[in-house]
Assembly symmetry: D2
């Protein structure tokens, strides 16, 4: 099952080339991830056994297929392509009126967050994994 | 005495109009303020009597005189136009090759910062005030 | 008559202080202005007598009343406080659950835009003025 | 031969997690690319045979190794890992005090840019290729 959202390109997202600056596609992916977490009732910054748990990124990539401009509306479709013991990979497809705009992935690692310390990777909580499962792409390990 | 810095316009700062997006002038002002704080040896987020102290903004304004574009170098000159008991007003003049680009102000309030609480305004520490004094514009109350 | 919109704070809009970076309030105001222009059927970049016409900013200001954080939903209410012969002033009030977050204004000037030339101010087209009139605040000149 | 630059993390680049927002690493890479183009005397937007030529991105990726925070200084080292007939791949390594922060690549394609048309890929001009050659990583095709 895929998660879908859409948004309109804001003026601040564009650059001198008259198109959305390539770095902003990552913000669009992230905003979709966060909308997904709200949908499945899992907070971005949660608490497990009294400890603050969140999802630092370890990798991000994007392929740009066609440009988008101010005021255009884009559709973003997301699936979970990998649910590991400690990490998760989200895959995104961005389209406009059915035309492919970009696709990419975000890889996040479940971590304990303590102020002043490096994030420490931990096992993904069972409740989170259960909530994500319906969105896990079947054909991919 | 004025504090001066300069920077080059980055591509990400521009928009579809081919100029620096107006909101980024505030980031340019802030970056100058932070460079100034480093110059006078005062941290943006400090500690007074064991409490975290910082400078939330209460007002910001900017007048736009001429546009700037990708790769252009701008000069930013800053003075302190008011040093109150709890607040400070920084004034900025941005130029390019001597031509006025923009001018504006930032007003910040000295506050105790506690996680989960509203910032609470406090008196500006004497050490901070002493460090700022040489930059205080004389002609303005 | 006021124009209203709302939006959710995105993660990219926040800063190390855990709140929306003050410069992003200007992007929020602008996005409301652009939604307004769509509502009244006036393009941001239009054409008058075969010439490209748009609305460079000459002034922007904001007063910050209370901080907002990731995922919070804000309401933005906009009115037109001045409709001059060449310029327009938009006033914005941002609230969260009825609590004042910020208020500010944007002043834009109607200009002919030619690549490689400075924008040249022109009279606001009658059609634009007529479309804006219902939103003009009555009590303010 | 590698191209090197460094910069200081600005407050606007950080997020609620107290670190640089992951999308901004792409702006850091791009700023390095642009500094490199200035270094070798090649404009980002040039002219070949009377046509506007620039470098739209087709891919971007980044691996995040350790977080960076406000005011920290980072070093960015760039090499050209592929110089094709129409495209170029830049590889970046970001460090802080010698510690790896992130690495990633940008892939750009040489294109003719005409307003209102899709960018059309063209052969990389010989002059550009000659200027880039000294920075081409030897061990990689």
């Amino acid at each position: 099952m895929n998660f879908k959202t859409s948004r309109r390109v804001e003026f601040r997202d564009t650059d001198t080339a008259g198109i959305v600056h390539f770095s902003n596609f990552f913000a669009y992916m992230e905003q979709t991830e966060h909308a997904f977490l709200r949908e499945i009732g899992q907070p971005l910054i949660g608490e497990v056994d009294g400890k603050r748990v969140s999802w630092p990124r370890v990798a991000a990539n994007c392929n740009y297929r066609s440009a988008i401009q101010f005021e255009q509306i884009i559709d973003i479709e997301m699936s979970v392509t990998k649910l590991g013991t400690k990490s998760i990979i989200y895959a995104f497809t961005i389209t406009r009126d059915g035309t492919l705009v970009a696709d990419g992935t975000l890889t996040a690692v479940c971590c304990e967050i303590e102020p002043g310390k490096k994030p420490k990777s931990i096992g993904i909580p069972a409740e989170f994994a259960a909530a994500v499962k319906p969105y896990l792409a079947e054909s991919i390990d």
